[in-house]
Symmetry: C2
Subunit: 289 residues, 2 copies
DNA sequence: GTTCCGCATGAATCGATAG
DNA sequence: ACTATCGATTCATGCGGAA
C-alpha cells in the first residue's frame, strides 16, 4: 500500500490522496514560501498562499496518526517595508481546519544571510510550527537532551552589558556529533529555541535546511522504525535524517530535478548499524498532554 | 502640556487622551498578558484581548511621531495544550487600524524560566513586534553594533596575497571585492534576534523584563533628549533605561502599588553625565525606508 | 592524522533603473 | 502608475586542499 523509503514524484495533494489514513508518525516539511524563488520552484502568490496550502494540510491531517505531530518550517519575507502576514493567517486557518497549534519553535540561525538596509537588520530566525490532531501526542524528550558545562554557571551568574553582545556559546544547539563531548557533563532538557547554523555547501537546492533541523524533531517525536513524511521533499534532507536515525521516510516532490538530486544525496548516506539499545525504548515512551 | 520624566497613575486609555498628537519618539511596552488568573495584574480575558487593546493602540498611533516606532513585547502562553492566538489576531487587527507591521524581533532568553512538562519544553523566547506609522522612520543602527565573530581573527588577521591583489584590481564579485573594508573591523550589525539574559532583580512585579531589552530599542530608535512612552509602566524598567541613556520618559500605570515601586526603582538610578560627544549626532542620523 | 587557510555561498532586502 | 530586473550591501560557516 504505502511504499516506504521512497520519493514519489508528483503533485503534492494528488500523491497524498494515495496514502492511507492514520499511518504517519511525523510530518516534517518546509514548503515553498510565498512569492519566492519563482525561478527555482513553483512560486505561490502571497494572497493565494492560504488557499493553496489548506487542501494540503487537510490531507496531511488525514494521513497523520492521531498521536502524531506535524512540524511546519516557514518564515514570511519582508515586502515593501513590511513583514507579510500570510503565515499568521495560515495558523488561524489551520486551527479552523481542526488542527491544534501546540507550539511555535524558533530556529535561531547562527549564520544568517548577510546584507544591510536602512530600515531593518538581517533576518536570523525561522518558525517551526507544531501542529497536532489531539492533545495527546508522542514525545520523547530524553532523546534531545543537551549537555551543559561549567561555563554556563559562570556566565549566568554575571549579567552585564556583554549579554547584549553576540552569543558565542555552543550550548543550545546540543547537536554535537562527538559523544565524547558529553562525558562528564550534566544534561538538561532543551528549550523551544534551536540555535543551528545553516549549511551553505553545494546542495543544489536553493532552500535547504541543515539536516540537524529535521533530526532534532525526528528524535523528539518518533521512535526507531516509525514513518516520517515530507510532502515537499526538495533535496531530500528529511530523508537523510531518517536514514541516519533508522526511521522510515516517505517523500513527495513535484519537480523531477529535485527527485533526482534527492536520490543522489540519499545514496551517499551511510546506514547506521542498528544500536543494541534503542534510544527510545518503551520505558522512555512518554505520552504527552 | 506633556509632563516629562514622570509616571502618571490612571487608566491607560484615559491618560493617553491627555497627551498631544505626534509628540513621542518611541513607544516601548509590555502590556499585561491575557490570562485567566486575575490575581497578579488586571487580567484580560483571552477572547476579549484584541478588543481591549485596539483602543489603546489607536491612541498610541495618535501620540507617536510620524517617524517614530512602537515596540510591543508580548508572548502568548499555552492554555489547554495550545498556544493562544490572540497575538496573531492582534497583529492583523492593528494592520487594519493603519499600523505597518515592520518587523518581528525575537528576544531569545538565555536563562528562561525552569520547569518540565510532558508535552512541551521551556519557553525561551518572546516577541518584540515593531510597528510604524509610515515606511520612513528613524533608526540609528550604529548605536547597537556588536563585536565581530571569532572567525575574523583567523581570516582577517593576515590577508593573503590574493586578497591584496583582488583589492587592488577591484575585480571579482561579492564579499571579496571590498576585503579592505574588513581590515581592523571589530563590530558588525546585529540581527533581529536578541540573545539576552533575563533579570531576576525585579521581584516586586510579575512581568518584568531586563533593562537591556528597552535599552537596546531605545538606542536603536531614539536620540538623546527624545521622548519614550511606556503606557504599561509596571515596575519602571523602561524609565530606568531612559534615565541611563539620557532620554525623557513618560510612564502610565494603573495600579498605585506599581507607581510607588517604580518611583523607588527610579530614585536609585544614577544619572549619567552628559557625554561630550552624543552617540547619535546629526551626521549619524538615518531616515530609513 | 590534525590544523590551518582560502573560498564559495546562503529561503535577504532595498533602491534605482528599465520597460 | 506599476512591475520586472539588477546592483550594492553584508557575515559566518563548512568544505577541500595544503602545511
Amino acid at each position: 500500500m504505502l511504499k516506504l523509503d521512497s520519493i514519489i514524484e508528483g503533485n503534492c495533494t494528488s500523491v497524498l490522496q494515495t496514502i492511507p489514513d492514520n499511518c504517519v508518525d511525523l510530518i516534517f516539511t518546509s514548503p515553498p514560501y510565498a512569492d519566492n524563488r519563482k525561478n527555482t520552484y513553483q512560486g505561490i502568490a502571497i494572497d493565494e498562499y492560504v488557499d493553496w496550502f489548506l487542501p494540503v494540510s487537510a490531507e496531511l491531517k488525514r494521513v497523520l496518526k492521531p498521536e502524531g505531530t506535524f512540524i511546519l518550517n516557514i518564515k514570511e519575507r519582508a515586502v515593501n517595508g513590511e513583514r507579510q502576514t500570510y503565515v499568521l493567517e495560515l495558523i488561524l486557518a489551520m486551527r479552523r481546519q481542526g488542527w491544534l497549534w501546540t507550539e511555535e519553535f524558533i530556529w535561531h540561525k547562527k549564520n544568517c544571510y548577510p546584507g544591510k538596509w536602512p530600515n531593518r537588520f538581517r533576518d536570523a530566525w525561522e518558525r517551526c510550527l507544531q501542529f497536532n490532531k489531539q492533545k495527546h501526542f508522542k514525545m520523547y524528550q530524553e532523546s534531545v537532551m543537551v549537555p551543559i558545562g561549567d561555563w554556563s554557571n559562570k556566565r549566568l551568574a554575571r549579567l552585564s552589558d556583554t549579554d547584549l553582545k553576540r552569543d558565542e556559546s555552543r550550548v543550545g544547539s546540543g547537536f554535537g556529533k562527538n559523544i565524547s563531548n558529553w562525558l562528564g557533563k550534566e544534561v538538561v532538557y532543551p528549550t523551544n529555541v534551536l540555535h543551528l547554523a545553516t549549511e551553505c555547501a553545494n546542495r543544489g537546492h536553493s532552500a535547504s535546511f541543515p539536516v540537524v533541523l529535521p533530526s532534532w524533531f525526528i528524535k523528539l517525536f518518533t521512535n526507531q522504525g516509525d514513518i516520517v513524511l515530507d510532502p515537499f521533499m526538495g533535496s531530500g534532507t528529511t530523508a537523510i535524517a531518517c536514514i541516519e536515525l533508522a526511521r522510515h521516510y516517505v517523500g513527495i516532490e513535484a519537480m523531477h530535478k529535485y527527485c533526482v538530486l534527492a536520490e543522489q544525496q540519499i545514496a551517499k548516506v551511510k546506514r547506521p548499524q542498528i544500536p543494541l539499545i534503542p534510544e527510545n525504548n518503551s520505558s522512555d515512551k512518554v505520552y504527552a498532554g
